[in-house]
Amino acid sequence: MFIYLNFFVVFIIVILINYKRKIKLYDERQRIFIGNAYRYGYASLVLSIFSLNFLSYRYQIDILAIPFYCLMFSILVISIYLIYHDSFFAIGTNSKKSIFEITAIGIFNIFIYLFLREFFSLFIGMLLIILSFFMYIKQKKGESKDE
């Protein structure tokens, strides 16, 4: 029950934050890479479900956690592919602000882990910090290329 309430609160907060923001668009090159990224994401999702189910027979893995890990792995693949091809942020997005937000949410999740000892929070926190690190490096490379 508490989890559903949590989802609902987060859903409302996201809607309120994005209510006044303009819809941001991607250009044609970015859309091509987004399509490819979803394809890779789907493939990695299927492969990770298969491999984790296979491993769960041999090693002790929480069955309920398998979909979570598979989804996170798929999201990681999509995000890294898009970041690598400069297609993660829409046109006109303030990437510095977005990187700061993602890092802050990652650090917040790690704090939650420190207090509640919830492994999922640590996992998500690490994932977000890794992603923001990649974004930061890519942004710095892009700035130096601008001629």
Partner: protein, 66 residues
């Protein structure tokens, strides 16, 4: 288009625009302009026309191989 598009880069520089400024005028990301100039992306005809309009060039002048 695997070769670098030097004609596009030259036209942009001649017009006094940075990649970001040209991208803002066309409505694409800076990385897309960079990819076109470096030959990493083959743009659609619509994007080519938009670039030509901004840089006051024809399609032949910017995108036709010599």
């Amino acid at each position: 288009m695997n070769n670098k598009n030097l004609k596009l880069k030259a036209a942009r520089v001649l017009k006094g625009l940075s990649q970001q400024e040209l991208a803002d005028k066309i409505g694409v990301s800076r990385q897309t302009i960079s990819s076109i100039e470096n030959g990493g992306y083959n743009p659609t005809i619509n994007l080519c026309i938009n670039i030509c309009k901004i840089l006051d060039k024809t399609l032949d002048e910017l995108f036709w191989e010599n």
